[in-house]
């Protein structure tokens, strides 16, 4: 092996995050006067600082010891994850103050989850990816069971951890098999190995591939590996649910896309149908089961499973076009989903309630929250003016370009199903009779976060060109290797 590039400074955003996490814990420990929500603002500043520092490497393309790659793809996702952490922390400040113990650990774990997510997007190698994935997962296991006197939280956390550990084992076994066949754990080298002779049918290779898909499928909650999602979502403290929905999906797909674009693109024809069927099953099951939910967290959990199906369409249609369309949709989806969850958090802070029927008359009592939640839900359903329409349109068109018109058709049909259950929430808010007429007090911080996210939903929906330019530059990197090898596109 050549001399390794050990340029430690490349990991500066991660140092900041880890250091900040330690600092937050110590502050919590030694500065009794600091309120729990104020501690949150400190932690949020850390996430923002890491985000800003990661901008240093725009248009750079380098790596750390061949393990971590710092390029536009990494920078894109570092910024993305940093901002997810930032908004998730701000949105949870009041919730933590009122309802949780151990604020220091809570914020520190969110920051560490961001580190894990960054690693997943940055890793150029299977084991580094695995370790980062575990860092993210372990942070989330603890966070899900953070309300330690709530048995639902404990149950959700336990389920999440057991199934997560199980899936990690599957993933590791898959990694082992792939290493055995190709002799490398580096994405690019695996890709180069597979580009050559693929005529011989290698059972170990495809078993390894299937196990990796299953393992990643668990992490992003694809059917039939989705069983942990509803319980974990329902049990977790609300801001954690928001975080899990955003960052575990985003990071999971960051890794999914990078791994499949760099390593497994040469075998496209072998796994395309497999992923396509997985995508179809995921969106059908997620959206149909969501119809019957009465608890808003469970509804959003099943709807997020459905959304994973839409995202998997982008993997099934894998091509440079579909890759950028996928990331565009991912960004739009995460912004929208965070906005929806911030509304739910605000409502929970006021009332402590999370049943859909308890949203009755919200439009009278808090018009801004009702309007924002409607915007977010309509965007999730893929309605125009909002992010969902533009990003879904482009993503599904990308699938149609790759001869997956049937899958695009199923996806559109399921978006239509999702509109039905989102409308039931909108109906409660606008048509239901509120228990009281009084307005809720205004939490300015949460309203500010919400307004920013809603503005993002409109921006992506009405003028996606700037974001799409950025995303395309980010994703171009991961397809460049295979393009050089001439393996891109249809056979």
């Amino acid at each position: 092996m050549d001399d390794l590039n050990l340029q430690w400074s490349l990991l500066a955003p991660e140092y900041i995050l880890v250091g900040w996490a330690g600092m937050v814990v110590l502050l919590d420990l030694f500065w009794g006067g600091l309120r729990k929500d104020q501690l949150g603002y400190v932690a949020a500043a850390g996430a923002l600082a890491a985000t800003l520092v990661s901008l240093i490497w725009i248009n750079d393309d380098t790596d750390f010891a061949n393990l971590i790659q710092i390029n536009n793809y990494t920078t894109l996702f570092r910024v993305f994850f940093g901002l997810i952490g930032f908004f998730a922390i701000l949105a949870s400040a009041r919730y933590v103050r009122d309802r949780l113990l151990h604020a220091g650990e809570y914020y520190a774990l969110i920051l560490l989850a961001v580190v894990g997510a960054n690693g997943m997007a940055a890793s150029g190698e299977l084991l580094t990816a695995y370790v980062s994935l575990e860092l993210l997962s372990f942070s989330l296991y603890v966070l899900v069971s953070f309300a330690k006197f709530d048995h639902r939280s404990n149950e959700g956390g336990l389920k999440y951890m057991l199934l997560g550990a199980f899936s990690s084992a599957i993933l590791l076994y898959g990694i082992g098999l792939i290493y055995g066949v190709t002799g490398s754990t580096h994405f690019a080298e695996i890709g180069a190995q597979l580009t050559g002779d693929t005529s011989s049918f290698d059972m170990a290779l495809f078993l390894g591939l299937a196990l990796i898909i299953a393992g990643l499928g668990f992490k992003v909650a694809a059917v039939p590996f989705h069983m942990w999602t509803p319980d974990a979502y329902e049990g977790a403290p609300l801001p954690v649910t928001a975080l899990v929905a955003a960052i575990s999906k985003a990071a999971g797909f960051a890794l999914f896309l990078k791994l499949f674009a760099e390593a497994f693109l040469p075998l496209l024809d072998e796994w395309r149908l497999f992923i396509a069927v997985l995508a179809a099953a995921t969106m059908i099951l997620g959206n149909l089961v969501a119809i019957q939910q009465h608890n808003i967290k469970r509804l959003l959990a099943y709807s997020s499973i459905g959304q994973v199906g839409f995202l998997l369409v982008g993997i099934a249609a894998l091509s440079p076009e579909a890759g950028s369309a996928l990331v565009l949709h991912l960004v739009g989806y995460v912004i929208t989903n965070l906005a929806a969850f911030v509304c739910v958090i605000i409502f929970y802070n006021w009332t402590g309630k999370e049943e859909i029927e308890e949203y009755a008359g919200l439009a009278e009592r808090a018009p801004f929250v009702a309007l924002s939640l409607s915007v977010a839900l309509f965007s999730l359903a893929g309605m125009p003016l909002f992010a969902g329409f533009a990003t879904k349109f482009i993503l599904f068109q990308a699938a149609a370009q790759e001869d997956l018109l049937w899958l695009a058709g199923v996806a559109v049909l399921m978006s239509f199903v999702s509109l039905y259950y989102y409308l039931t929430i909108v109906r409660q808010m606008y048509l239901g009779k509120p228990e009281e007429e009084t307005r809720f007090p205004t939490p300015w911080l949460e309203y500010g976060v919400l307004a920013t996210l809603v503005a993002g939903v409109f921006l992506v929906g009405l003028y996606p060109q700037p974001l799409f330019d950025v995303v395309e530059q980010g994703t171009a990197v991961i397809f460049s290797g295979s393009q050089a090898a001439g393996a891109v596109g249809k056979p």
């Binding site: 076009e321 125009p384 329409f389 695009a408 058709g409 559109v412 409308l423 060109q465 330019d469």
Partner: protein, 500 residues
């Protein structure tokens, strides 16, 4: 002048923002703002119609192209642009929208419950409608199409009215949900067809003129034309996918019924013409017998169903299904006269059905019933209202001199010319049934012995009368002097691909 179409979309959208800034306690200010904006939209749409130069070919007028998304992924130069322009088919539709929204704001004057939110949704809907008519980009056409559909749910569910049939109740939520689910199901088909069209064309753009010049295989056209035909057809009340329409229209508040039956259903027919026939003429030719059959069935079925209604609004709702059936017949004839007739009918039906719903609303506001058997001799108390109703009804049954006649005569001639004698004959039968239910309704509810129960009825309010006069002006104008309409429409229709 290029910006007039942009302004037509931006004005209603901008007005929604203005509404949001007005505190909801100033309901009178909200009303006057709505009126001012609607009047401005009406004048602009009139301007578009008058200044549209039909001579010198069928080209697009007021052409404006703004970049939205390009040189990204599978999109090439001008991949998706906000391309706005009108042709001879869109110009009358824009005018129609301008007329109906102005009348609709007059009719909405007496809405008191959260009227600010009501106008926000109504104007968002109108922005979508204008957008569909003037878009020359498939992406944005569909974008605005969905914008127009979405506000319907809340408009009906919040401000609508449930119908009690004694043994069962049709709630407004039911009507609203049914309408939205039907229409969105139609969009699914359109969505799929758009993906397929873009991929097959391989031009890297959604621009309709460019897509129109691309070549599509014959099998491809035959496969995907039905997607557009049924997808858009659902909104146009195409039989047998029309059942949302009477329920939805009855549940909706008056002005929303006017806009929906008057303008939104036209979006469906317009979509079939602009996208379906415009892109896939061979597919349209292949499927035209089916469209003709469905159209004439709808015309007959709607008329017979209207005959059986006691509820005035259901009668108008079914009559809309019937008249949209005529539009489908005109489109299916695939010849110049027939398609021109279809567009004329879209305009004529739009104006007269808006007038009908406005008048049903006016009488319902006072009597709180729409059961025509409970009325009797209302002409004694509401002479002007009766006159308006009569004119709308006579236009609907195709009396010469009014708008409906001009349109229907074109459609029937076109149908016969295309060789569908049976369909033409059945269509005329449907028109005859229309005469029966309209005249019977007028006889039982408005003329004949006066029912003393209604002794305290008053004439329609001034604003409702203004709206009716506005609508009647265009019914009579088109009936007496259809040339401005026919000139504009036929010039464009003759240049459509596949129109013989």
């Amino acid at each position: 002048m290029e910006w007039v179409l942009f302004a037509l979309i931006a004005l209603p959208l901008g007005t929604t923002l203005v509404f949001m800034l007005i505190p909801s306690r100033y309901s009178q200010l909200v009303r006057y703002t709505a009126l001012a904006a609607a009047a401005a939209m009406f004048l602009m749409s009139l301007l578009v119609f008058i200044r549209y130069e039909f001579e010198g070919g069928s080209g697009l007028r007021f052409d404006l192209q703004l970049d939205w998304l390009e040189n990204i992924a599978f999109l090439g130069e001008n991949g998706i642009t906000l391309h706005l322009a009108v042709d001879g088919i869109a110009a009358p539709m824009v005018l129609l929208t301008g007329i109906v929204i102005l009348a609709g704001v007059f009719i909405s004057w007496n809405i008191d419950y959260r009227n600010k939110d009501y106008f926000i949704l109504l104007f968002a809907l109108v922005a979508g409608v204008f957008g569909v008519f003037v878009s020359q980009d498939l992406f944005f056409l569909f974008f605005f199409y969905e914008v127009a559909v979405l506000p319907m749910y809340l408009l009906i569910a919040v401000w609508g009215a449930s119908s009690n049939f004694g043994t069962f109740v049709r709630t407004k939520e039911y009507g609203a949900m049914k309408l939205v689910l039907y229409l969105v199901a139609g969009s699914v088909l359109i969505f799929i067809a758009i993906f397929a069209t873009f991929t097959e064309a391989g031009q890297g753009t959604f621009d309709l003129p460019v897509l129109g010049e691309a070549t599509y295989g014959e099998t491809f056209q035959k496969t995907f034309f039905p997607f557009y035909m049924i997808g858009f057809g659902i909104l146009a009340g195409l039989w047998p996918f029309h059942t949302w329409s009477p329920d939805g229209h009855v549940a909706a508040p008056t002005a929303v019924s006017m806009l929906h039956a008057g303008v939104l259903m036209k979006l469906g027919a317009f979509g079939i013409l602009r996208v379906g026939i415009g892109l896939f003429p061979e597919g349209a030719q292949f499927w035209s017998p089916v469209l003709m059959t469905l159209g004439v069935t709808g015309a007959l079925y709607g008329a017979v169903s209207a005959l059986g209604q006691k509820d005035l609004k259901y009668m108008v709702g079914y009559s809309s299904v019937s008249h949209m059936g005529f539009v489908m017949m005109g489109l299916a004839s695939m010849n110049s006269i027939g398609v021109t007739g279809a567009v004329l009918q879209m305009f004529a039906h739009g104006v007269m059905t808006a007038l009908m719903f406005a008048n049903v609303g006016a009488v319902y506001d006072q009597t709180h019933t729409r059961d025509m058997t409970a009325f009797g001799g209302l002409a004694n108390k509401m002479p002007r209202h009766t006159a308006f109703w009569t004119i709308a009804g006579l236009s609907s049954l195709g009396l010469p001199g009014l708008a409906g006649f001009i349109a229907e005569i074109h459609i029937f001639v076109g149908t016969f010319q295309a060789g569908y004698y049976w369909a033409g004959a059945l269509g005329i039968l449907a028109a005859a049934i229309t005469a029966t239910y309209i005249l019977r309704m007028l006889a039982s509810a408005y003329f004949g012995p006066f029912n003393e129960r209604w002794a305290s009825l008053k004439e329609m309010r001034f604003r409702e009368q203004s709206a009716s006069v506005l609508l009647i002006f265009f019914i009579v104008f088109m009936g007496m002097w259809p040339k401005p309409f026919i000139d504009r429409i036929s010039e464009t229709v003759n240049n459509l691909p596949g129109i013989g």
